[in-house]
């Protein structure tokens, strides 16, 4: 990266890490096609890059079985000698699309191996969040002058409860790094992970109702940099879905048992905690029910 004079550095320089959902099982069931979706997203990325000369954009594709970096605006190899086929495609995104295609092929290969498992058709959010955070960490260590990073998660696939722990760990790391996670959910069900992520890290969560106006949603809400968020009102969700998933079956639960040593969540009573190995004492509920059983037995005999 060429050296930048500090005078040019203003408050609103931002680094946007976009997590793009490329889960084929989701995209085969939506009203909007993937190509339309991509054009909205690419135009949005252009807009973000246009807001400030020093803005950076990184795109990470979240696939069904893998994730990968697809685009980094700070790499100079993007520009120049790329064959634009005389189409309306801006040359700047030529490499993005090429890489995306390669990624999808690779993802397909990987998914063929593990298809025997039954699971909710979710995308690998935990993986892409971790990759984003690693990139941001590297940016933080690059020097004094760096853009303010944030993560934008564009997702439509439902949550995979088996990823609960990993996703929560990433969210807490993001909170530590003070990186807000914005989320734009375009799917049908509600995503508890994304709501919690935005709530905890101080980002914005929104569920657009009209998908053909996606570009408008993106530029109005998600293009604002962190400095401007201090005085720009963004739509806030009224409630947050705080449900967790249990550690034993990966089911989403509202009420369960918690180990008092390591705070692992279980949906049913266990003798021992599987995470930390501590032995649980007998619960009061068990005592009460056994006592009432004894009571009921006596008169009947």
């Amino acid at each position: 990266m060429p050296a930048i004079a500090s005078k040019q550095y203003s408050d609103d320089v931002s680094l946007l890490v976009l997590l793009l959902d490329t889960n084929p099982l989701f995209w085969s069931t939506t009203s909007i096609t993937f190509s339309q979706f991509l054009s909205h997203v690419l135009a949005f990325l252009n807009a973000v890059l246009g807001l400030n000369q020093l803005n950076q954009v990184v795109v990470i594709a979240t696939g069904y079985s893998s994730c990968d970096y697809i685009y980094d605006s700070s790499l100079t190899s993007n520009h120049g000698n790329f064959e634009s086929n005389g189409t309306g495609m801006p040359a700047i995104f030529g490499s993005l699309l090429k890489k995306l295609e390669e990624f999808v092929t690779k993802d397909e290969e990987l998914s063929k191996e593990e298809v025997s498992e039954d699971r909710i058709p979710s995308c690998l959010l935990s993986g892409s969040l971790s990759m984003a955070l690693c990139y941001i960490q590297r940016v933080f260590r690059s020097g004094h002058l760096h853009p303010q990073p944030r993560i934008l998660c564009l997702q439509g696939s439902p949550d995979g409860p088996e990823q609960y722990v990993a996703v929560m760990n990433s969210i807490f790391s993001a909170q530590r790094l003070m990186v807000p996670i914005d989320s734009c959910y375009i799917g049908v069900q509600n995503s508890a992970f994304l709501q919690q992520a935005s709530y905890i890290t101080g980002g914005v969560h929104h569920t657009p109702k009209q998908l053909d106006g996606l570009f408008q949603y993106l530029t109005t809400i998600f293009a604002t940099d962190l400095h401007s968020r201090g005085f720009v009102q963004l739509p806030k969700p009224i409630g947050v879905d705080f449900r967790a998933s249990c550690f034993c079956h990966k089911k989403t639960i509202d009420m369960g048992y918690i180990c008092s040593v390591c705070l692992s969540i279980f949906c049913e009573h266990h003798k021992k905690c599987s995470t930390c190995g501590s032995v649980f004492g007998q619960s009061k509920l068990d005592d009460a029910s056994s006592a009432s059983d004894k009571k009921r037995k006596a008169p009947s005999t």
Partner: protein
Amino acid sequence: MAGGGQVEKRVKYKSSVKDPGTPGFLRIREGMLLFVPNDPKSDSKLKVLTQNIKSQKNTKEGSNKPPWLNLTNKLGKSHIFEFENYPDMHACRDFITKALAICEEEPNKSAVSTSSEQLSIKELELRFKLLRENSELQRLHKQFVESKVLTEDEFWATRKKLLGKDSIRKSKQQVGLKSMMVSGIKPSTDGRTNRVTFNLTPEIIFQIFAEKPAVRQAFINYVPSKMTEKDFWTKYFRAEYLYSTKNTAVAAAEAAEDEELAVFLKPDEILARETRQKIRRVDPTLDMEADQGDDYTHLMDHGIQRDGTMDVVEPQNDQFRRSLLQDLNRHAAVVLEGRSIDVESEDTRIVAEALTRVKQVSKADGETTKDANLERLERMSRLAGMEDLQAPQNFPLAPLSIKDPRDYFESQQGNVLNVPRGAKGLKRNVHEAYGLLKESILEIRATGLSDPLIRPEVSFEVFSSLTRTISTAKNIIGKNPRESILDRLPKSTKDEVLHHWTSIQELLRHFWSSYPITTTYLHTKVMLLQFPNLPIPELAIFIDS
């Protein structure tokens, strides 16, 4: 004079002292008092039932005042009757006294038959105080008790804790001893003659007896058999004077002469004995260094001399010395003990005897029996074990269990129960889906971004919906998402809502405590509680928007 149950006199009725008085007749019958004015047109006719009369006052015969009888009724109003002469007034007064006495018996009987909880004035005062201090409680009280939904007793029944705590606070506080050394008093000197005057107060006497048990014992022994109290104290202060001069030779000489004086000059044997016992009873596993300072008998070379000089003392006169530190320590010990007796008497002898009794009791408690001693020794040897002399102990080792962190991550992949789908079916779906995806990507590469990217009407719709969302969210949640809706209301409405809530809580508490309904009283109570007239606060204006 009327006989039997009736008295009738000519009087003047005055409603206040300054009133000139309306002339008329006063007829007193059993249970009632009737005043009829002479002038039928005046309206000061008065009828007072004897039960309502609280008290009566009258002017004395010897004074120059006219004969007045002042009756105060229970509401605080007073009626003054001016009689023609004193005998008349006395007759009426006696009659009323008799009537009042009869009346008083009755309310006592009726009071016993009513509620068994007789409220003392103290409790009433407490209740009023609580109501005054806590405005919320007062509001609840006004709302329920005065509208007869709940009775007083029921209201306070759930608040016993509030009433109870206050009464505990009122318990008497014990006054401790002064930390100033009153016993080391300086006398007042008469400049001209060689006389010194000591002022003795009971407080000082108490301190002297508490700090110096030998003096106390001497007092009990000598007074009043051998000498008077005055002589005793004179001797005591002579001894004090001798101490302060630090002239041990003179002290020794005088001690040899006067037997009683010697008692004061010698070191306090009783105290020494007590201290020795205490030292013996001390657990040696504790720090012994701290006890050195307590040793009364051997305190010599350290401590502050009263006048800063260090003089050499002959061994036989050693016992006639006393140091400031000894006095201070003894005084401090006594102050920390506190007042061990409750007797507050002027009589010195009583105080002395009481103190002795207390000391004897405590001594008896403290005396250790043989068994206790043995047990103590055993415990000492157990606690003061010397580690390097003991046998080697092989404790069973518990191995550290450090789990492999990889287990944690792998367990997260764990069993997943989902809606099962046919594996083959899934494979096909996946393959198809990937195919579609790839097609889309190729399409966009070929055609580029869609043109127009977004239709203006759609854009406008999105804008307006977003604006609406933001503005309504701001009204509902406010700038701070963690702010509750209650904080958005103006203060008075918020208070009303909260009061409404507390009154509902109160009603519910009483309602559910009445179940199961076993008596008619509970039944009526439940009926009353079901339909209270609660004013519902005006919230309508805030819901809309």
